[in-house]
């Protein structure tokens, strides 16, 4: 059994965000991390592997620098890593990205007992679209927002989080599941893992390797081919600083209450 885990290297959006003149994010200027939900997907794959024989393949699309992240995933326990990288792929929206990743997985081969795991969404876009779109391109059933995955033979029983509870869904492999942080606690790399990572295969698939893949439509990939385009990006207006009350706690509270009464809030 092969378990493909789709991972993305993302800029850490919790800090300062650098933006290019064309409105795209200046990734080079921001610290890069492994997308948090993807670590839950990796952990789920490693747990399945502990129960039965499986090969865990980390797959990522990104710039050559993402190779470092791939080494980390190998150190965490992945058996192989595949980095999809090429200028032609840059600037792809979710439609374009999912075609390329689906094409790459198809190229690597997907059999009846195989599984694809993704994080629910990446923190740099928060779209949650790439997982389901990969599943569609590969004609596989999908389950999103997984908080529990139980495998029996080729049948997966997955708890799918809803806003007000959950749904329990059964699908057969091959299928695609997207994972959320409630699913598990991702492990850290071990020292041994770090040493063995260098011996594990890291393959790069470029445009040449994938351009003849039937699932990839070369005219709808990359910045110019993507169906969606950024029309404009802007900052929300800076709201003028409000009024700061001064005085003792009691005095400040009284001033607030007076303002609220004036404005008919109370």
């Amino acid at each position: 059994m092969k378990i493909y885990v789709c991972v993305k290297q993302v800029p850490d959006t919790s800090g300062v965000v650098a933006v290019n003149p064309d409105g795209t994010m200046n990734r080079a200027k921001m610290p890069a991390i492994i997308n948090p939900d993807d670590l839950n997907a990796m952990e789920a794959a490693l747990q399945l592997k502990e129960k039965e024989c499986a090969t865990v393949v980390a797959v990522s699309m990104g710039p050559p620098q993402a190779g470092e992240m791939m080494r980390e995933l190998l150190a965490m326990g992945a058996d192989e890593a595949v980095l999809i990288s090429g200028r032609e792929f840059g600037g792809s929206d979710t439609f374009a990205t999912s075609q390329i990743i689906a094409g790459a997985i198809h190229h690597l081969g997907i059999k009846e007992e195989d599984l694809i795991l993704c994080g629910r969404q990446a923190i740099d876009g928060d779209t949650a679209q790439v997982g389901p779109q990969i599943a569609e391109k590969l004609h596989l059933p999908q389950v999103t927002y997984a908080t529990e995955i139980i495998k029996e033979g080729n049948t997966y029983t997955v708890k799918r989080a809803l806003e007000d509870g959950y749904m329990s869904i059964q699908v057969k492999s091959p299928c695609l599941i997207t994972c959320i942080k409630e699913l598990n606690e991702p492990r850290y790399m071990t020292v041994e893992g770090v040493f063995s990572a260098d011996e594990k295969p890291l393959t790069v698939l470029d445009y040449e390797a994938l351009k003849d893949e039937p699932l990839i439509e070369t005219e709808t990939i990359g910045l110019n081919g993507s169906p969606t385009n950024i029309f404009k990006s802007f900052n929300p207006p800076v709201k003028g600083k409000g009024e700061m009350f001064v005085g003792s706690d009691k005095e400040m509270a009284m001033q607030l209450a007076e303002k609220l009464a004036e404005k008919h809030v109370i």
């Binding site: 389901p132 059933p141 806003e163 959950y166």
Partner: protein, 367 residues
């Protein structure tokens, strides 16, 4: 059926909204979306169509969608659609889109909408913009929106006024920026829209009566379905209506040292302000001190109450993303340099455990 080609954009017309139902009940997001889509249909001079899928008898809900502005409701009734499955729903939605070719398709960004939307967009060979917070078709309306809600100098910017691509605006890069996205070469233009962001209009009984209802028998081969729903479990916890509340009093890390007292104070303050709901920053949710369904922010809920109070919250950009459009913002924080004070209308610097009781007293004394 004429051949479906997403790039033949001139063949597509009308504004569609996918209306989600759970347990045979419409969702609030449906009404928000229909209300907003009404404006888009008027801007475009086209028809507004609601698409409703469900089990037998679901058509009974159709008129209500008319009351919020739908000209027509297409109802797909089938026992296989009673409960959402990605497979059956994406099949029927795509079949309908391929048959009728709408120009725009909007879907609520619920856990279900975010499962369905991308699957359909990929099959329909078109783009999808996630979690939109604002939509325009008419360029004048868009420019007006930019003028009021952005730092763009619209007077010195050129716009193609005849552009009729739907302009889909959403927070980008973790809420640090806003981006407007278009899908110029393919149709339908698809967007998922965050619950609670758009405004629901008044219900109108005459419109409900006038709405045209079309029942379609969907083509589902149940034997070919792979996805089986074993059970649906509603978690028996108190439902927190953060999105609909007029008053939200949120607590943050500053409340962590005595969470029970802080919760009590927050609720009492909400009561003094006319009654409301207690929200939270992510810090307390991550620490396990507050339930995730109370989280306000980029990865939590977007609220726009009449009054939002932030108690012991620093005001990180991701928190602001969920509350900055509140009508009035009050902040209490012991550090006067925190970013929360940059967006607050009224700021009180002090220890929340001491200031909040004074606030409750002062407000009650004014009544």
């Amino acid at each position: 059926m004429a051949e479906y080609k997403s790039s033949a954009i001139e063949e597509f017309s009308n504004i569609w909204v996918f209306c989600e139902q759970r347990d045979g009940k419409l969702m609030n997001t449906d009404f928000e979306l229909i209300s907003e889509a009404r404006k888009l249909a008027d801007q475009r001079g086209s028809k507004l169509v609601a698409l409703l899928l469900g089990g037998e008898g679901i058509g009974d809900l159709a008129k209500e969608l008319g009351g919020y502005g739908a000209d027509q409701v297409i109802v797909c009734e089938d026992p296989a659609l009673a409960v959402y499955t990605n497979e059956a729903y994406s099949k029927v939605v795509c079949d309908m889109v391929m048959k009728y070719k709408p120009e725009v398709l909007l879907i609520g960004a619920s856990n279900i909408g975010r499962d369905l939307g991308p699957r359909c967009a990929a099959r329909l060979h078109t783009g999808l913009t996630a979690d939109c917070t604002h939509l325009d078709i008419d360029m004048n309306t868009y420019v007006d929106f930019l003028d009021k809600n952005s730092n763009v100098d619209v007077k010195n910017t050129e716009f193609k006024m005849e552009d009729v691509n739907m302009k889909m605006t959403r927070p980008a890069f973790g809420g640090h920026l806003m981006a407007t996205i278009i899908c110029p070469r393919f149709r339908p233009c698809m967007a998922t829209v965050r619950p609670g962001v758009l405004k629901k209009e008044e219900y109108d009984q005459t419109k409900a009566e006038a709405c045209e209802i079309t029942i379609v028998k969907p083509n589902i081969d149940t034997a070919a379905l792979h996805e089986k729903v074993l059970e649906i479990v509603k978690e028996a916890k108190e439902v927190v209506d953060l999105i609909g509340a007029d008053v939200v009093v949120s607590i943050g890390n500053g409340a962590a040292k005595d969470i029970e007292t802080a919760k009590k104070l927050a609720l009492e303050l909400a009561d003094a302000l006319g009654g409301g709901v207690v929200g939270s920053s992510r810090a307390l949710v991550d620490a396990g001190l507050m339930d995730a369904d109370r989280q306000v922010g980029q990865t939590g809920k977007t609220v726009h109450p009449k009054v939002y109070v932030a108690l012991g919250i620093s005001g990180a950009i991701q928190h602001q993303a969920g509350m900055q459009n509140s009508e009035l913002i009050i902040a209490v924080n012991k550090n006067e340099n925190e970013p929360i004070f940059e967006i607050a209308d009224y700021g009180l610097v002090g220890d929340l455990f001491k200031v909040v009781p004074e606030m409750i007293n002062a407000i009650n004394s004014m009544k």
